[in-house]
Structure formats: structure tokens, C-alpha cells
């Protein structure tokens, strides 16, 4: 941790944050928000939390920026003109967030110093994870072992939350009965109809297989290096979004249609829960992977935990990949699956 770099990044983050809420053009705000996410990613890297940085880069700077673009594309690009009483609401909002921020700031003085060895966080569980992970699970990346094994329950419900988010978008936009084309200006529609850029399409065709290969590497190599199901899944989903942007929505939907997508999303959570139940059936606790050595060939109790983590990560990756696609497809086409960006 180098405090000079920290100060620099934090200053830029504050500037980006202020700019993102003050700029009138919402597309510009989305771009600035992407830059904000990328700076957060740099900050995580600088603090040594590489897994978090990876997630922030993939989700925050990558996919969520695209989702913002899609939402802006489907709604309005400008902030609404002055409404009566806007100043009052703004003042109230400022008061509320100021109070809340003040309370949080006050509470943060009770926190232990950054990386304080005597703090509860680094004196109870962390030493166990840091010293025993290799012996207990044979996984070098502690983050993965904590995420998928020691705290497997948490991660299972995180995956379920991702699934729920996708289903909520699906219910609101696809089944909500508002499948209108939305306000798209005629000129843009005409441009889109005539828009066939061979350079972008060629490069996309060339890059997408490598993106997907890299995503599989991230999923499978999450035990040894930063990465895992969430990051790999987001990269896989992003490769399909790239196809949908550079060709059209139909092209991506031909690869994975809605029915297959929903099936895969549920399969992912099912794989995770199924591995948990398998442990129950074999007589251990829920998600206690070590018992799986009885049915996995040529593994002992330690290797079984490592292998089960891989299975769980694959489940997470499936769900995340498909949910990212579903959210993009629905937002960009307002639930009609007709036309994309």
C-alpha cells in the first residue's frame, strides 16, 4: 500500500463521483461511472484485493456500464427539466444523505486501523484461513476457498440473488405487458437498419472465441489465481453481449435463446445446491465437501473439497453468464427482443 497512489486514486474517485451526479447528459454520466468503477478497481488492486478488483473490472466497469447504456438508449438521454418543488426534494435528499453519511463517518472512527494485526478481523478467523487453507483444501487461492468452501452457504445465496435479479428484470420488462418499442428516434432506427460495419464484426468474430476461452480459464483456474465463477461468468456473458451489440440481438439469441437461458440459469443454482444436498445424502453437513471423496474416484478428503469447489464455481458461472445476458437483452429491447443497440 503506497499512500501517495491511494490519495491520487481517491481524489480522482471523488471527482468522478461528483461529475457523474452533476452532468446533465445521462450517457456521459454512465461513461464517467464506468471510469469511477475502473478507479475503484485500481484501488482494490493497490490494496492487494485482486479478486475484488477483478470483479469490479468485469462487473462494475464492464457489464454495468453496458447495462446503463442500454437503459439510457431505451429511455431518455437528458435529465428531466425542472419540476416544481425539485429544490425542496433535492434539499431533503441532501439533508438525509448528509445525516446518514455523517453517522457512517462517525461510526468509522471506531474501526481498527487498516491491516491492524490486533483487530478482531485479523486475529480470529483470518489466521486460520491463511495458515490452514492449503492443508485443509489444497487450494492456493485463499479467497476462492473462503468463498466457495468455508463460506459456501453465503455464496450459494449470492448466486440465488443473482438469479432473482434476472428473474425480476424478466418479470418487469418481459411479462409486465409494456413490450413497446420505446422512444427511439427515427434517425437512429434508420442508421441501425443500414449499419453493417465489417471491421467491427470481423474483430468481434475473431475476439469472441478467445474471450470465452479466457473466461473458462478464469473459472477453472480460480483455485490458483484471481478469478472464479462470478468473474468468469460475467466475461462469458459479456462475450454474448458483444455479439449482440456488434451484430444484432437476433444473432445472440440464436446462440442461446430465452428458454435455454432460463434453463441454464436454474441449472447453475441447481448444481450448487445439488452438491450441497449430495453431501447431506452421504451423511455429512450441507456443503461439507470432504465427504464427497466417497463418490469421486481417486481423491482423498482434501482433494474432494478442491474438486467440489470447481463444481460449485461452474454452477455460479452458468447462472451469472446467463443472467447477465437476460438482463441485457430485456433492458436493451424493452422486453420485446426485437432490436438491440
Amino acid at each position: 500500500m503506497i499512500w501517495q497512489i491511494d490519495i491520487m486514486i481517491l481524489t480522482l474517485i471523488v471527482i468522478c463521483g461528483l461529475f457523474a451526479i452533476s452532468v446533465k447528459d445521462l450517457l456521459g454520466a454512465a461513461v464517467v461511472f464506468g471510469a469511477y468503477s475502473f478507479l475503484m478497481c485500481l484501488l482494490w488492486t493497490e490494496m492487494g484485493a485482486v479478486d475484488v478488483a477483478f470483479t469490479e473490472a468485469a462487473v462494475g466497469a464492464g457489464v454495468s456500464t453496458v447495462l446503463f447504456f442500454a437503459a439510457v438508449h431505451r429511455s431518455s438521454r437528458q435529465v428531466k427539466a425542472r419540476v416544481s418543488g425539485a429544490m425542496l426534494y433535492k434539499g431533503l435528499g441532501l439533508l438525509a444523505s448528509g445525516l446518514m453519511g455523517g453517522v457512517l463517518f462517525y461510526a468509522s472512527t471506531d474501526f481498527p486501523d487498516w491491516a491492524d494485526p490486533a483487530s478482531p478481523a485479523s486475529s480470529h478467523l483470518s489466521p486460520h484461513f491463511i495458515t490452514q487453507t492449503i492443508a485443509e483444501t489444497s487450494v492456493p487461492n485463499i479467497v476462492t476457498s473462503v468463498l466457495a468452501d468455508y463460506r459456501g452457504f453465503d455464496t450459494m445465496f449470492e448466486t440465488a440473488v443473482v438469479l432473482t435479479a434476472g428473474l425480476a428484470v424478466l418479470i418487469i420488462l418481459r411479462l409486465g405487458g409494456c413490450r413497446t418499442a420505446g422512444p427511439i428516434r427515427e434517425k437512429n432506427a434508420a442508421i441501425q437498419a443500414a449499419y453493417k460495419d465489417s471491421i467491427i464484426r470481423f474483430v468481434t468474430r475473431m475476439v469472441v472465441p478467445f474471450m470465452q476461452l479466457f473466461a473458462l480459464y478464469v473459472v477453472a483456474h480460480g483455485h490458483h489465481s484471481p478469478g472464479g465463477g462470478f468473474q468468469g461468468g460475467v466475461i462469458l456473458g459479456a462475450s454474448f453481449i458483444l455479439l449482440a451489440i456488434s451484430y444484432d440481438l437476433k444473432m445472440a439469441l440464436n446462440r442461446i435463446n430465452e428458454k435455454a437461458a432460463l434453463l441454464l440459469a436454474n441449472t447453475g443454482v441447481l448444481i450448487y445446491g445439488g452438491i450441497g444436498f449430495l453431501c447431506l445424502l452421504l451423511g455429512a453437513n450441507f456443503l461439507d465437501y470432504s465427504i464427497l471423496h466417497r463418490i469421486l474416484p481417486a481423491t482423498d478428503e482434501i482433494a474432494a473439497r478442491s474438486h467440489a469447489m470447481l463444481g460449485v464455481e461452474i454452477g455460479v458461472a452458468l447462472t451469472v453468464m446467463v443472467i447477465v445476458m437476460i438482463i441485457y437483452n430485456n433492458i436493451v429491447s424493452n422486453g420485446s427482443y426485437e432490436k438491440g443497440l
Partner: protein, 115 residues
């Protein structure tokens, strides 16, 4: 030897980054700015990455060579993606009718884009 090469490459990369920044700030319109950003950014990233890849080889071991190869993969990706992204942005600007800059005496080509 490797150190000298690395320093030379990094300084060249930083120089082109500086030139890019100056270009983005000083050029008169969207197209010329994107031209500066796209070209300078790609070249300087490539130079700096090559420098890092070389620097990584000062201790030859299988792990370091693997990291160098990974950096070269990133380099390939930037080499493909950055110019394409620049092209896409400029194309989008052209489609939405941004007029290129011209000085007082030379208005040729301006009318092509007038709707």
C-alpha cells in the same frame, strides 16, 4: 541490457502518452481528437507493455516466462481492440452527423455531411 531496453521502451511509451494527451486537449474537433487518442493510446500501451514483458524476464524462470507470455496476450488484445473501438466511436460520430473541422479558407468536404 534488459534494464536499458526497458527504460527506453517505457520512456518512449510515456512520451507517446504525453503526445496523446496534448493531442486530445489541443486538436480542434472530434475526429482529430479521436485520431490522437486512438493512435497514441495504442502505440504507447504497446510500448509500455513490451517494456514490462521484457523487464519481467530479468530472472529467467518458467513462471516469469509464463507471465511474459500473458502480457504479450494482453498486448495482442489491445492491438486488436483499441483501434476497433476508436473506429467504432468515430463511425458513430460520423453517422450522427458531426462535421469535421475546417479552417476559414477550406470548406471542402463540409457539405457532404450537411443534412
Amino acid at each position: 541490457m534488459i534494464n536499458t531496453l526497458t527504460i527506453a521502451l517505457m520512456i518512449a511509451g510515456l512520451f507517446f502518452f504525453l503526445a496523446t494527451t496534448v493531442g486530445v486537449l489541443r486538436f480542434p474537433d472530434f475526429y482529430t481528437r479521436m485520431h490522437a487518442a486512438g493512435k497514441g493510446d495504442t502505440l504507447s500501451s504497446l510500448l509500455i507493455l513490451v517494456g514490462l514483458a521484457l523487464y519481467n524476464l530479468h530472472l529467467l524462470s518458467a513462471g516469469n516466462i509464463l507471465v511474459t507470455i500473458k502480457i504479450l496476450f494482453i498486448l495482442m488484445f489491445i492491438f486488436l481492440a483499441s483501434p476497433t473501438a476508436t473506429h467504432a466511436i468515430i463511425d458513430a460520430g460520423y453517422e450522427s452527423g458531426i462535421k469535421p473541422w475546417a479552417n476559414e479558407n477550406n470548406r471542402e468536404g463540409q457539405d457532404d455531411l450537411a443534412d
